[in-house]
Point group: C2
Amino acid sequence: MATLSGSRPPAKTPRPKLRPDDGRLVRGRRSRARIREAARELFAERGFDGATLRAIAERAGMGASSIYRHVRSKEELLVAELADLQEEAWTRFRTEDDRSAPTRDRIQRFLDLQHEVLVESPDLTMIALRATTHTAARVARRVLALQDRTIGLLAEILQRGRMSGELSREADLLAAARTIFHLTQGSRTAWANGLQSPEACREAIDGGVAVLFSGLESPTAGH
Amino acid sequence: MATLSGSRPPAKTPRPKLRPDDGRLVRGRRSRARIREAARELFAERGFDGATLRAIAERAGMGASSIYRHVRSKEELLVAELADLQEEAWTRFRTEDDRSAPTRDRIQRFLDLQHEVLVESPDLTMIALRATTHTAARVARRVLALQDRTIGLLAEILQRGRMSGELSREADLLAAARTIFHLTQGSRTAWANGLQSPEACREAIDGGVAVLFSGLESPTAGH
DNA sequence: AACGGTTTGCGATCTTGTTCGCCTTCATGG
DNA sequence: CCATGAAGGCGAACAAGATCGCAAACCGTT
């Protein structure tokens, strides 16, 4: 269920025996929850850039600087959000996925779910993308990890298609998965900038996937 | 040669006859040039985020606020930079392009040039990408326009490939061009975050393009 | 030469994410 | 039962992009 900040494995380096949660940290956990709730609400109401940290803090019932006891940056709040949504989309896909269906359909379904989830808040996609442009930041790595996970799932689907003989044996499936993912990401950018309706965005993605499946080269041209 | 801010066509709407450049604006033009030079230098020295507006202003010999007489945001300075580089890459391509060469090679060459130009400053790609996440900003539109231009050029190349019979007649070439472009953009993000060498990035792009050309579907499977 | 309008420049100020130093709370251990 | 030390909180302050109102420079016109 992906905890907020870095998870805390019991041992890693000669850590001097981290004190177990003795109940004193309950207050802190509650604060974190309040912060996340306030952030989610305000992001929805005013968008990421419109949601001031001071406003979030106020709604969470604390001073602005206190937030930084629980979160290392404003973006981290949103990335936590995104991670949750992704998780939701993935589990939904896994539960209703028919592994024997045609690969094309499975990919389609995966992208549909992804789209459905992300289309509700342009901010999420956009700010996550923005986060990857702060090359020094921790959040950038986190977002890229999420992307890799998505790409991995796509590759998995394609892999099965190869095994069933639907897909060519020579094709580089990882490259294909990456291509599909980046295509979705890029198409959504145009949509989030108000240049496209969500449907047009979806169609752009589908178009790209279609070409990728059937290939550009003329079947007659003998390579 | 793409002027800095919005170009000034002599007439567009019932503009009350904009006074012609009477030489009074020379000072301004010189200032603009100084700003752009200072910005270019400082971006190269310290990167986009490291280059303070106040520092740029100082090097350009003026106060920080004065910059905003010539530029509407810091990002605009960088986008101007990017536009110039793109223009350079494109003209270089056009001059040395052999329109009768195999489509695959022409695409390859185009991407090579693009890569060569962009690989020198990770900042350019990154900040341009970041700009597209500020959905209200003018620069976002500008960057998206540049992207469209690139996609258009790719589509043009593909178009010729179809006419010569190399490429399938049914394939959606615009979708393909978009896919290629977004693939490059996405791959470069990983590189700019230090997760990949420039070569690995280039290979990732090539891999994606290869799959796109040959297609995923097994040739035996009869659609 | 005086006027009017426009471009350019400047310092003060605002905004907002983030850091800093200090204080309070509180379970633990001597 | 008090010292310890970590977790949480706070207001002040900082950094940097951006805005504002006012002043100077400048040009064509009267």
